[in-house]
C-alpha cells in the first residue's frame, strides 16, 4: 500500500528542505529519495497538507477533517447513497456548473461593458478578437446546462422521496435556488444586447405589467390611489421596478447586469452554503433510513 516514504515521512528519507531525523543514528547508506518524496517531505508541502497522503484509513479520515474544500463532505457515507444509478450526481454537477459560471463570468466581465454603446460590440469582440474565443460559449452553454441539471437534481430528490422529514426545509431552500438559477439565466439573457436578448426580456418582463394591484395593467390596478390619482402608473409599477424604465433600455441593461453579476450570485452563494450545511445536518446525503 504505497511507498514507505509517503506513509511514514522522515523514515529514512531526507530532504533538502527538512531536517534529517534518523540519519545520524544509521550507518547504512540512505536510498536516493525520489523527487516526489523530496517534495512531500519538504517543510512547504507539510505546512500546506498537515498529514501524510490519504493512503491508509487513518489519513483518509484525517484528510476529510483537515482540508477546507473536502470538509463539506462527511468522513464516510452509505455506499448505496453514492451509487451513480441512485444519486445521479446532479446536485454536485449543478454546483460545479455554478463555479464554472462564476469563473467564466468574471473573465467575461473583464471585456464586457453594460452600456448601449458597447454591450453588443464587446460581445462581438469576445467572439472575434479576444483570445480564448469560446469564453461566452462556455458561459452560455454552462448556464443552459445548469438549468437542466437543477431540474434533474430536483427530479431525483422528488422521485426518491428525499424531501420528506427531516429534510423539508432543505427542499424549500432548493426551490429558492431553482428560482435564483432561472433568474440568473434570465438576467444574463439580456446582456448580449442583440435582438434575441432584448425581445426575450421584453416578452418575459411584460408579464410584470400584469401583476395584480402592483402592475399598470394588472387586476385591481386602481386600488392603490390617493384622492383618485393612481399610484400605479407605467412609471411606477412592478415592471418599471424590474426594468428601471418604461421599456427595456439602458437602465434595464445596467439593472440586469448588477443583478446578474452581483446580487443574485451572492444570494445564490449564501443559499448554496445553507443548502450544503443542511444536507449534513439533516442526516447526510439521501439514502434509505
Amino acid at each position: 500500500m504505497g511507498r514507505p516514504g509517503i506513509l511514514h515521512p522522515g523514515n529514512g528519507v531526507t530532504s533538502i528542505l527538512s531536517f534529517p531525523r534518523s540519519s545520524a543514528h544509521s550507518l547504512r547508506p540512505l536510498p536516493m529519495p525520489s523527487l516526489g518524496e523530496l517534495v512531500r517531505n519538504s517543510q512547504i508541502w507539510k505546512s500546506v497538507f498537515r498529514h501524510p497522503a490519504p493512503l491508509d484509513r487513518r489519513n483518509r479520515i484525517v484528510v476529510m477533517l483537515t482540508n477546507f474544500f473536502l470538509h463539506l463532505h462527511p468522513v464516510s457515507v452509505k455506499k448505496q447513497g453514492i451509487a451513480l444509478s441512485y444519486t445521479w450526481c446532479m446536485g454536485g454537477v449543478t454546483f460545479f456548473l455554478f463555479l464554472v459560471e462564476t469563473v467564466t463570468g468574471v473573465l467575461l466581465m473583464f471585456y464586457y461593458r453594460p452600456t448601449l454603446e458597447w454591450a453588443y460590440a464587446d460581445i462581438l469582440a469576445l467572439r472575434d478578437v479576444a483570445s480564448l474565443g469560446i469564453l461566452r460559449e462556455l458561459h452560455r452553454w454552462g448556464a443552459h446546462a445548469m438549468v437542466i441539471t437543477v431540474w434533474l437534481h430536483m427530479y431525483r430528490v422528488f422521485l426518491t422521496g428525499s424531501y420528506k422529514p427531516p429534510r423539508e426545509f432543505n427542499w424549500v431552500v432548493g426551490v429558492v435556488l431553482l428560482l435564483l438559477t432561472l433568474l440568473l439565466s434570465f438576467t444574463g439573457y439580456l446582456l448580449p444586447w442583440d435582438q434575441l436578448a432584448i425581445w426575450a426580456i421584453t416578452v418575459g418582463s411584460n408579464m410584470a405589467r400584469a401583476t395584480p394591484i402592483l402592475g399598470y395593467e394588472g387586476p385591481f390596478q386602481g386600488v392603490l390611489n390617493v384622492d383618485g390619482i393612481d399610484m400605479i402608473t407605467q412609471g411606477s409599477d412592478a415592471r418599471f421596478g424590474l426594468l428601471g424604465a418604461r421599456f427595456v433600455g439602458e437602465e434595464t441593461l445596467n439593472r440586469f447586469y448588477v443583478l446578474h453579476c452581483v446580487a443574485i450570485p451572492l444570494a445564490a452563494a449564501l443559499l448554496i452554503a445553507i443548502h450544503f450545511w443542511r444536507v449534513r445536518k439533516d442526516g447526510g446525503i439521501s439514502a434509505p433510513l
Binding site: 422521485l159 426518491t160 435582438q195
Partner: protein, 469 residues
C-alpha cells in the same frame, strides 16, 4: 461581420438563415452530410459497445447479435448513405410520415393532438412500465428516437428549429429526461416487485458505509473533468447565438421568452398575463415549497418507488413532465410566427392566419342560454350599482370557480376513500391547501380543453378591473 446570425447552422449555411427561407436541398445536404455521417457512426459505435457488453459482460449472445446487426446498419449503410450528400440517397423520414405529422400537428388541431398525444404517450409508458423499463425495450426506444432524429434532420424546417443554438439544450433535455425517467422507473419497478414480495428495496440491501476518500472524491473528480471536457467540446463546436443588434422597433416574429419560460408563455394562449406570468409562476414556486409539508406519506424515502406513493408521484409527473416539459418543447419546436402551431416539418409561414372567435362564459350563459343581453349598469350609476351589475354579469363564472375550489374538495373527501383518508390525516387547512394547489394546476388543462371544445375565452371576464380569468 457585425449582425451576422451566428449559431450552428450559420457556420455551414449562411444563406439558409440570411434569406430566412429554404435553400436548395443538395446544397443543404452538402452542409450537413459531415455531421450526419458522424451522427450515424456514433449510433453504430454505441450499439457496437452495447453488443460487446451484452456478449462479454452479461453473456447474452443472441441479444448481442441483434445489436451488432443494428450497429452494422447504422455504420455500414446509413452512415455512408448520409455521407453521400445526395438528396436521393440520404436517409430521410418517409414522405407519408412527414405529411401525416404536418397535417395532424398543425394549427389548432395540432395543439390538441400534441397535448393529448403527449398525455396518452406518457400514460401508456406509465401503465406499461413493467414492460417499457426492460433494458432491451428501452434501448430499442432510444434507438428509434435517435433514428427518427437523424431522419428528420434532413428536413430543412426541422433542422432550422433543432439546430438553433439555444434549442440544442432542449433536445438534450428531452433525451436526458427520457434516460433518467427510465432509470428511476427501472429501479422503482424492481423495488415495487420486491416490496410486494415482502423484501426490502434495493437501496436497503446493503448498509455498508464507505470512506468519502477515495470512494466519493474520485467520482467527483471524474465528473468535473468529464463535464469540463464536455463543455469545452460543446463550446468549440457550437457558437453562442448572437443576432442583430437590439432594436426596439423591429419586433421579431415569433418573440419568444427564454426556453425555460416557454411553458408560461404557452399559458398566455389560454390565460391573461396576470395569471400566466405572475400568479401561475408564484403558485408553482409556493406549491413546490409546500410539497414536503403536504405529503404526509412516510413511505418511499430514500428509494425509488411508484406504488408506495402513487398519488404524489402521478401529481408531480403530471405537473413536471406534462405541464412543464411538454409545453416547453411545444413552445420551442412547434410554435412559430404569430404563436401559431406548426408541424415539425412545416415551413414557418408568417402569413398563416388562424382566426378564432372565442366566447366568454358570461356570453354563453346570458346570451346563449337565457337569450338576453349581458347585464349592464345604466349609464351614470354609482360605484356600487356598477359593482353589482359586474358581479351579476360574471356570476356564472364566480359560482363555477367557487364550486371548483371550495365544493369539489369537500365533495371528494366525502365521496372517495382516498381523499377522505387524506382529509383525516391532514386536517382541514392542509387538506384545502393541497386540493386547491392541485386544482389550480389542473385549471390549465381544463381551460385548454374548454378552449378547444367550446372556444371558451374567459370564465370570468371583468375588463373594468383587468380581471380576466
Amino acid at each position: 461581420m457585425a449582425g451576422q446570425t451566428s449559431d450552428f447552422p450559420a457556420m455551414h449555411f449562411p444563406a439558409l438563415l440570411a434569406a430566412g427561407g429554404l435553400i436548395d436541398q443538395a446544397t443543404f445536404l452538402s452542409g450537413v452530410k459531415g455531421f450526419l455521417t458522424i451522427y450515424y457512426l456514433g449510433l453504430a459505435i454505441t450499439n457496437a459497445v452495447a453488443a460487446f457488453l451484452l456478449w462479454h459482460h452479461w453473456h447474452r449472445p443472441k441479444a448481442a447479435l441483434v445489436w451488432t446487426i443494428v450497429a452494422t446498419v447504422f455504420g455500414g449503410i446509413l452512415a455512408p448513405m448520409a455521407g453521400s450528400g445526395d438528396p436521393y440517397w440520404t436517409p430521410r423520414m418517409p414522405e407519408a410520415i412527414v405529411s401525416f405529422l404536418n397535417s395532424w400537428l398543425s394549427g389548432q388541431v395540432g395543439a390538441i393532438v400534441y397535448t393529448i398525444g403527449s398525455v396518452v404517450f406518457l400514460s401508456v409508458l406509465y401503465l406499461g412500465r413493467d414492460f417499457f423499463v426492460r433494458p432491451m425495450v428501452a434501448w430499442t426506444g432510444l434507438n428509434l428516437a435517435l433514428l427518427a432524429m437523424g431522419l428528420s434532420m434532413v428536413n430543412q424546417n426541422f433542422w432550422q428549429v433543432v439546430s438553433k443554438g439555444d434549442n440544442i439544450p432542449i433536445v438534450g433535455l428531452m433525451f436526458l429526461l427520457g434516460f433518467f425517467t427510465w432509470l428511476a422507473t427501472y429501479r422503482a419497478v424492481i423495488n415495487d416487485k420486491r416490496i410486494a414480495e415482502g423484501l426490502p428495496p434495493l437501496e436497503k440491501l446493503d448498509d455498508e458505509k464507505v470512506l468519502v476518500w477515495p470512494d466519493l472524491v474520485y467520482t467527483e473528480l471524474v465528473c468535473m473533468l468529464a463535464l469540463t471536457a464536455f463543455l469545452l467540446v460543446w463550446g468549440i463546436l457550437i457558437q453562442a447565438p448572437l443576432e442583430q443588434p437590439a432594436s426596439s422597433v423591429k419586433t421579431p416574429n415569433p418573440s419568444k421568452a427564454p426556453w425555460y419560460f416557454l411553458g408560461l408563455q404557452e399559458m398566455l394562449v389560454y390565460f391573461d398575463p396576470w395569471m400566466a406570468g405572475v400568479v401561475a409562476p408564484s403558485l408553482i414556486i409556493v406549491g413546490l415549497m409546500a410539497i414536503p409539508y403536504l405529503d404526509f406519506n412516510k413511505k418511499g424515502m430514500g428509494y425509488y418507488t411508484i406504488n408506495e406513493r402513487k398519488f404524489a408521484y402521478l401529481n408531480f409527473q403530471f405537473g413536471f413532465l406534462v405541464l412543464w416539459v411538454t409545453l416547453i418543447v411545444m413552445g420551442t419546436v412547434l410554435r412559430g410566427p404569430n404563436w401559431n402551431f406548426f408541424g415539425p416539418f412545416e415551413p414557418w409561414d408568417s402569413h398563416k392566419v388562424e382566426a378564432l372567435k372565442n366566447v366568454d362564459l358570461s356570453e354563453y350563459f346570458w346570451i346563449g342560454l337565457l337569450n338576453r343581453g349581458l347585464p349592464k349598469a345604466p349609464t351614470g350609476s354609482g360605484f356600487f350599482v356598477e359593482l353589482g351589475y359586474i358581479l351579476l354579469r360574471e356570476s356564472p363564472g364566480f359560482i363555477l370557480m367557487g364550486i371548483y375550489l371550495f365544493v369539489v374538495p369537500p365533495a371528494l373527501a366525502i365521496g372517495t376513500t382516498l381523499f377522505r383518508n387524506m382529509y383525516l390525516k391532514m386536517g382541514f387547512l392542509r387538506y384545502m391547501l393541497m386540493t386547491n394547489l392541485l386544482l389550480m394546476m389542473a385549471i390549465l388543462p381544463i381551460k385548454m380543453a374548454l378552449r378547444w371544445s367550446f372556444n371558451l375565452k374567459y370564465i370570468i371576464h371583468i375588463d373594468e378591473w383587468f380581471l380576466n380569468f
